[in-house]
Amino acid sequence: MDIKLTEDQTQLQDIASKFMDNHCTFDFVRKMEKDEGFGFCPDMWKQFADMGWLGIIVPEEFGGMGMSTLDMVVLVREMGRHLCPSPYLFTSVLAADVIAQAGTRKQKAALLPEIVSGKTIYAFAYQEYSRFFKPEHIKLQAKRDGDNFILNGTKLFVEFAEGADTIVVAARTGKANSQSGLTLFLVDRNSTGISIKHMPTMSRDRHYQIDFNNVEIPTSARLGKQSKGWEALEPSLHKTVIAFCAYTNGAGFEMHGYATKYASERVQFGRPIGQMQTIQGYLAQMIMELYGADMLTMFSAFQIDKARHTRGYVAKAKAFSAETVGHVMDVSSQIFGGMGYMEEQDTTLFLRRGKQYQLALGGTEYWEDVIAEEIIDREPVVLT
């Protein structure tokens, strides 16, 4: 057992870190928040493609780098450190993975190279009007009509929908209020009947409501088997959730670093505030949580790569990382005193993201329910 990064991983991390330092500055993040385009930078996306990042987990036969989940997570953590806004997670993790796993040979050959090259950007339409993240709660209907499916319903929290080319849609084709009966579709973002509305968020990122009003799509747009959508989606979703954990952990580490630096420099009552027991207690508690969240995330990625049963680990990683990012952004901001709440202070970029990240992709409550199912309702899986 050894948790040291491999040489390749260290190199990837260094390259990513340097790239982000240079290109994903706080000014850049602020600019993207106010961007009149799609909230991310097409030039940067092109650079991601040039570095091979867009195909990091795409099999080599389709032009990707065929790297592991663990490798991908190392990269995404660096993006998170810099709060990098991009449709990376849903394009290069979720869409790339679910196409590679569930797509037909023809779909893979046609679609994966376009992900790798940066030509196609994906969004992910899953969440509907529910506090939870359960597949049971999906109601958007897909009805077969000759050679087409007709989609009707509403999706919420579709990130970067407006800048995307294709939307991965989880729709109901079978039994209501059940895990089964879902089907995945790859829907052209410009299809007739789609209307998109911005949903303002604390992080000023790009989430959208999409209304599907009799949207006609060809049967060829179906991904995987009919009414087996959840089975196809779940493993890719887990991979995406773990990548998101790495992203939020990275952001947490970065914020913690700023707070630590400030605490060691800010003098009040004749000593740096970081010499006070309470401040030390806050910082020490947070760094333990961050290490714990990070290790859980890495461990889950490792188990995913080994193709083991990982639902419980993913759930624990997400529940704990979520709590951690919320807690770290909140308490670290407090260490800055009043300054932590001034718009011009760069750490507010982190504060505004903390709670939103905590609640994204299924809040703590949803994932705690999953943990309960794993520890109570099923027999334990002994991992070596």
Binding site: T201, F269, D330, G337, E343
Partner: protein
Amino acid sequence: MDFDWSPEEIAFREEVREFIAREMTEEVEGSIFIDTPPRIEFVTKMGKLGWLGMGFPEKYGGSPNPFPLAQFILNSELDRSGAPIIGKNVGTIASTIFNVASEEMKMEFLPMIFRNEGQWAITYTEPNAGTDLGSMQCRAIDKGDHFEVTGMKHYITSAHFCRWHWMALRTDPDAPKHKGISIFIVDHDSPGLSLSRMDTIGREGTTHRTNQVFFDKMKIPRARLVGELNKGFYYMMQALDYERFAILSFASRVRRFDHIVDWYKNVDFEGERPSDDPNTRRSLARMAARVEVGTMLERMAICKAQYEVPAVEAAMNKAWGASIGDEFAQLSLDLMGPFGGLWGGEHSPFEGGLADEYLMAGHARVAAGGVDTSKAIIARRLLGLPNALDKPKLPQR
């Protein structure tokens, strides 16, 4: 022990409620974070009723205090309804002027404050003197008939619409740091004074503006020195005990909690009703008990206030209130799933207002000395423990 309000207290509360019902408009309520003409006008009306100068002598424009808790009842009702409360102008400035200033200064400023003529900024904090106010460095140099000031202050919240500054400046750089500070009343129009805007975090239009204030050879007439030279730090500290109590009515927190409970009772996520969900119920119940504790600590403080300044109780109010405020700003979003991250728009509960509260909730924990400072006050003044920031102090055997 009598937890009920007396008939005269109830009568006064009714009077206040009627006033609010009559005078409160959406513009007054809708701008908690910004002081606006409608809010100022609202306060002026209270001044006309004699509510600002309650308990001060009539010769200074004051009016008789109907009973000890009148001011608390007034503030509590104002706070509950989202109206501006009677805060620093009376609690800090008028009280200090009344206690330590010259007769001339009293005659000049007290009536003005009680009529709400001319707004005030409390101009204390500097980049290196936040919680640790004793470290302030911005100097007022004694030039005989006036003092000259060059330097800056920051996080000054009302500076962009104030008429006067209630300003603390260092007047003796050689004395121990708490013994070289004086308080001045400074005309905002003084030559050499300029502002630079700083905004708190928030959605456009809801942020709280604060200011950096710069001084370039600004002159303050000697007559504007408040009380004695170099006694400023003690005046500030005395006022703080009172302010902590006066400003922190718990009523608005109770009101917000009630609104959140109402929201959870009435919202319907296409068939999923949070108020049927055992975890949501338990979380809200737990919070309800903790909010109630806040109202109880407040009751304790106001009962004490009938006899003396409730310094320890005010610190408890501050610590509990700010902690609870943070807890329930967090909780209210946590229970909403992804909707908790919204900052406005159709699906955002309270049009993003809860998100705003969440973002500033941590600020309440660190503002005005902060929760940890309040706990230190409790530890020292109530429990008799030595100051953790002093040199080690061995117990007397």
